[in-house]
Symmetry: C2
Subunit: 451 residues, 2 copies
């Protein structure tokens, strides 16, 4: 063993600090700097070498960020940042799918730097192209922080569950929506009211559309799909619906039936035709399902492997600390040398050139139970009209509840749960009701999450 | 980028299959073979090269294991297995802390083979020595399957949470105990009765002592502690109590107070003196804690990092499929080249020579709330005696319930919950009651898990 030992010692002694450059010093960027400074000693022990910040770049040099940047070189120009000789890893925290973030990422790779990013929109839209460049250049590109904040779910899928054919992944991928839904649940208040509070508290953006329309969760889901199923990212095919139409009455109704409402992102291989089904939509989640107990801004992801069975990863889905934790975990991986050999070459668990191109699966022949809520005029014959449409479309009703008045205009709420059946049948039933004068608003359909 | 690309392509083309040898072909071993065969294609894509079984070794060549071993070389002698030229990784699934498993592990490392093991007892007792040898030899040693079956929690701590100072880890680490406790909870039946059923169903060993006395969970906890806190494995210092004394009445009592009972392994740095506190003990877990919903043979581990916040990893804690999933994940890591550089050198997240030697922390000044259950003679003055002892030791009682008869001998059950206070005070109170003729059995103390 003598020569082995000598070799190892030499390698260890020769390991220089890993030098990072930070582009974007907002909440998360400041968190990364605080983390790297606070935990410097243990990071060096775990990474096998110190991790040091060489340079930073942000819009306003003089803004108070709660961290002292004076020890780090300042670049006004991101292009110059990526070109610096004293930088091994470029950390992109600028945000936005395109524009400066994408330019920086491309520049970093072109200069042979490793790329670490928290930018889910950029990865969802341009991750394949970036990975192709990174793999061709032999540099690692990592993005743990882009999905589910501090939860190491990308590592969990890419490495922890690597031995498994993944049959399904699903989970709570947007903390803002989960905060709003669980607050509505706890307080009985309405969506708009809770959203305003979340914005005031900083849990929701001033423009909350990306979150509440499900786009943010869809970005994350499409990234997880690529890793889990070995297929090219297909964000455009995620069937996406948001939470803005959910009423306090829906939550109360779901509760009385034994469910909570959660925005669930789900991807699975279509059992019939083999395509990939991806959906982000509010679901009814049974009380005894692990995801029913995920409250506030917490995220949780379930991966079902053909040998592992069900794996659950849960934690803080956002925030400067958790996101910084994921960013620095990626940097430590690079410092440890995971970029050696095959690793730099397998950004989405396998090399990007080897990803398949699964067709989007139609949702029509999916089987499931659904919650359907109508707001209807309070007059005779309305229930008969709705139930006739269900019958004609072949939808079997498990339970139906008609509840008081929904508003001041003489409207009432009718909620039903269907027996298991094809989603296409529900769609067909609603088509039959389209334009009906009995309906005061378009019906809301939510799938019921199975076990 | 041209030369980078050429280099990468060459490296990929040159990668030969990774050849493994399996020692021990019981349930898990057969699961590993089934997995490697079933998922061969996707494993090769993810690992960057095929993973093939070269040779196997087990006690009885002719036993029916449900898998065909005829394609693999058979060795009767484990020493010969470890010495084979056509083997890169030795997978130890023999079991037992010492004896043949340890001999094999040592031989494998001495022959420059990577070692993958599911053997928690061996790692808890000899992991430091084995890691020192492996690191000196420059070969990776991995043991994801030794803790919590298919859940990638070692990877989660070692890599996913690597940027964090871990403040506390705790969780449900033994599926047999959790199956028994959750079945007692669901059915109201007694411990011995449920244990017998678990044994009949194969969920508990014929000799269940390792599981029900907490030893198995303590092995796993001591391994997690080393990784989380960067300290030498100290299995001997785990303060361990099992579940055999828990009565159906305790579970009913806990339920009425808003808790379930779970065997919890917990490790944290002592806030006062800086030592390491490690305990495996049944705890009362509040209904709204994530661990309260972990039922059956499921395992779940919480890690609290100073930046990540609370991370939860949950899944199947045992079984051939999940355990094989973890074993093969380790093999894929090795195939991918994670053994390069620093990695082979950081078995417990940091090199074994750099692990600190934290002193065991005394439990005396820990603050907490406790559930204390007495079985007492049904006669006047008993409650006064118990409450006086509590008062004299400075234990403040939050609630006290005296319930009917515990047995046929005129004994009654008294259960109390204390206000937060030092554990030492409870110990002192029970010392004052030692030898009292009022007590029909030694009192049972369980800590209440905080949030």
């Amino acid at each position: 063993m003598a020569e082995h030992s000598a070799h190892t010692d030499t390698a260890r002694a020769a390991r220089p600090p890993l030098r990072i450059a930070l582009a974007g010093v907002g909440t998360v960027g400041a968190g990364v700097i605080r983390l790297v400074e606070t935990n410097a000693g243990l990071i060096a022990r775990r990474a096998g070498r110190p991790i040091v910040v060489s340079a930073v770049c942000a819009r306003d040099r003089h803004k108070d960020r709660g961290v002292d940047l004076s020890a780090y070189a300042w670049e006004d120009d991101m292009t110059a940042l990526a070109a610096r000789d004293d930088v091994d890893v470029v950390v992109e925290l600028v945000g936005g799918a395109d524009g400066p973030a994408l330019m920086l990422a491309r520049n970093a790779i072109a200069h042979g730097k490793a790329l670490v990013t928290a930018n889910k929109a950029m990865i969802a839209h341009h991750g394949l192209q970036l990975a192709a460049w990174a793999e061709a250049a032999g540099v690692p590109m990592r993005f743990e922080a882009a999905v589910a904040g501090g939860i190491p779910v990308i590592k969990g899928l890419r490495e922890g569950a690597a031995a498994n054919a993944i049959e399904r992944i699903y989970g709570i991928l947007n903390g803002t929506c989960n905060f709003i839904l669980s607050t509505m649940e706890d307080t009985g208040r309405d969506f708009a009211d809770v959203l305003a509070e979340a914005q005031a508290k900083g849990f929701a953006e001033a423009d909350p559309a990306f979150d509440i329309e499900g786009t943010d969760a869809a970005h994350k889901l499409s990234i997880l799909s690529a890793i889990a199923f070995g297929t090219r990212i297909d964000f455009a095919s995620v069937d996406t619906a948001g939470i803005a139409r959910i009423l306090a009455a829906d939550i109360a109704q779901a509760d009385s039936l034994g469910y909570v409402i959660r925005l669930i992102g789900m991807a699975e291989v279509d059992g019939v035709e083999g395509g990939l089904f991806q959906r982000v939509q509010p679901h009814l989640v049974p009380f005894d399902h692990p995801l029913a107990h995920v409250d506030g801004a917490t995220n949780a992801i379930v991966a079902e492997g053909n040998f592992s069975g069900r794996l659950l990863f849960q934690g803080a889905g956002a925030g400067d600390g958790p996101t910084a934790s994921a960013v620095v975990a990626d940097i430590i991986d690079i410092a440890r040398g995971y970029d050696a050999g095959f690793e730099a070459d397998a950004t989405f668990s396998i090399p990007v050139a080897d990803l398949t191109d699964m067709a989007p699966a139609p949702r029509g022949h999916r089987l499931g139970r659904a919650y359907i809520r109508f707001i209807v005029a309070d007059r005779p014959g309305v229930l008969a009209e709705i139930t006739a449409a269900m019958r004609d479309a072949g939808v079997s009703i498990e339970s139906l509840i008609q509840k008081g008045r929904a508003g001041d205009d003489g409207e009432v709420l009718v909620a039903m749960v269907t027996h298991e059946g094809p989603e296409a049948a529900v769609t067909q039933a609603l088509r039959l009701l389209e334009g009906s004068e009995s309906l005061a608003a378009p019906p809301l359909v939510m799938q019921i999450l199975g076990h």
